[in-house]
């Protein structure tokens, strides 16, 4: 079948070591123009779907909340009454609950995540201690939210109750403070991993320059590392905050689910996410449902903005 003689093929000169049938296929094989077009179209469609999902999410939330937007307008944000029975919906208690619980969680989280970032990124970059800590932080990030909630319910709530008895406040156990505690545990891995990355990438020359001037480790961290990594650390904190704002299950299980403005740090409350989780399936009446969707819309917008700003800080850190 094969031939190794010199051949003329269609006026073209070839030294043919190839069997005829292969020469023919190579020369005239189909170029798959049809598949090519189909393939490119598939890629294009997938890209459009990704953009479309976000756009459609926004549109769906807007349409879903139109009834509530029309009925309450701006007062939806300032109203303190959430009363499904009389059909009056104001979301201020949840906005406050979300803001207080997430900011408190952030406050608790920052020293710990900064410590982990410095531990892994500056003080002990190698060795068994850092491997253990690093794996532990990754494990923390992997545990599902509902399990955090379950654990908080059975382990954290009794502790907080003891604390409340000792402080002489009503011993609910559940409430804003408990929710903030569990939230803090959950968001530590996010800010710690970003913090570690930026701290580890501080140029050695900068640090050496400082050491050569007689600086201690503490001085170097305070005067060189932290200023250098500042926008990266900020980004980590912002992204962790974004997580805390939208976190649902663990918070829902321990916040106490009270639809009133929180009166203190320990009072039972509700966040935007937890009120949706609690009431969405029970929402009777279109205005009730629409109000819950409007809370979802607010949550969507807030987390999107916080995240885009966070990513902006990361990019700024990357370019400096």
């Amino acid at each position: 079948m094969g031939t190794s003689a010199e051949q003329y093929e269609g006026g073209r000169f070839r030294i043919a070591d190839l069997p005829f049938r292969l020469l023919g296929k190579l020369g005239a094989g189909d170029d798959g123009a049809m598949q090519e077009r189909l393939f490119r179209l598939t890629l294009l469609l997938a890209a459009i779907v990704v953009v479309g999902v976000v756009a459609a999410t926004l549109v769906t939330l807007l349409i879903g909340s139109s009834a509530s937007l029309k009925a309450f307008g701006f007062s939806f944000l300032t109203g303190t009454t959430w009363d499904p029975v009389s059909g009056v919906f104001g979301s201020l208690p949840f906005l406050v609950g979300t803001l207080v619980s997430s900011l408190l969680a952030l406050l608790i989280c920052i020293p710990f995540s900064l410590a982990i970032s410095l531990f892994l990124g500056e003080l002990f970059r190698q060795g068994p201690a850092s491997t253990i800590l690093k794996s532990a932080v990754e494990l923390l990030a992997g545990i599902p939210s509902v399990i955090y909630g379950f654990w908080a319910l059975l382990a954290l709530v009794p502790i907080v109750r003891q604390l409340q008895i000792w402080l002489g406040v009503p011993p609910y156990g559940v409430g804003l403070f408990t929710a903030s505690l569990i939230l803090a545990v959950m968001i530590v891995p996010y800010s710690a991993s970003i913090g570690r990355e930026v701290i580890a990438l501080t140029p050695a020359e900068l640090k050496e320059a400082a050491y050569s001037l007689g600086a201690t480790r503490f001085d170097v961290v305070r005067r060189v590392v932290l200023p250098y990594a500042r926008s990266g650390i900020t980004a980590g904190i912002l992204l962790a905050w974004g997580r805390a704002l939208g976190e649902t299950m663990a918070v829902t299980m321990v916040i106490g689910n009270a639809n009133v403005l929180p009166s203190g740090l320990f009072s039972p409350s509700n966040t935007m996410a937890s009120v949706i989780a609690n009431e969405f399936t029970e929402a009777t009446g279109s205005l009730y449902l629409s109000s819950l969707i409007e809370i979802g819309l607010l949550l969507f917008l807030v987390t999107a903005v916080v995240n885009v700003i966070g990513k902006f800080f990361i990019r700024r850190w990357q370019t400096t």
Binding site: G2, G11, R12, F13, R14, I15, A16, D17, L18, P19, L22, L23, K25, L26, G27, A28, G29, D31
Partner: protein, 214 residues
Amino acid sequence: MENPVLRVEDFSASFGQHRILSEVNLEIERERVTAIMGPSGCGKTTLIRCINRMHELTAGASVGGRVYLNGEDIYRMNSMLLRRRIGMVFQRPNPFPTMCIQDNVLAGYQLNGIRLNRDEKRSIVEKSLRRAALWDEVKDDLPRRGVFLSGGQQQRLCIARALAMNPEIAQAARVSDFTAFLYLGELVEFGPSKKMFTTPKDQRTEEYLTGRFG
């Protein structure tokens, strides 16, 4: 020149506003090794990239003029079919990391969906590797991935990959400001002496020198 394998007429190429080749005219003789020399950045690589139409894949690239392969205008041919007829070896070796050595040689067939039987495979692999002067070094490692090969061996693997397609022209771009058009009949002769690829002696390459661009 009588019946050149390749004829380039008034050929220009640019990236956006930046013109790289202008009004190039040359003919490449059949069954000969032709070298194109010039300082780095003068457009040698661009010229050979234009000849198998790789240049146009870069965004903002454009060309003018004509290139004839055996009398056919290559810019009127289907680019995919043209590239199968012109073998190309790049400056840096780029074997496929996911494929074993044998599949690397046969990549031009397998990726184009052409089925080969066992005899065809064996004969193409052996012939191509022999021509690229790599057979003796790898004949026992054909089913292994090529990551363990040295840079030079990887480059010869890429040459074998190009030769396996039985191209009408094989082009190789080399660092050390030296670019060669190689007609495949001659490569057998020059293949083993890596000298020609890596350290061309002035006198010898002078004979093949056909033009300067810049």
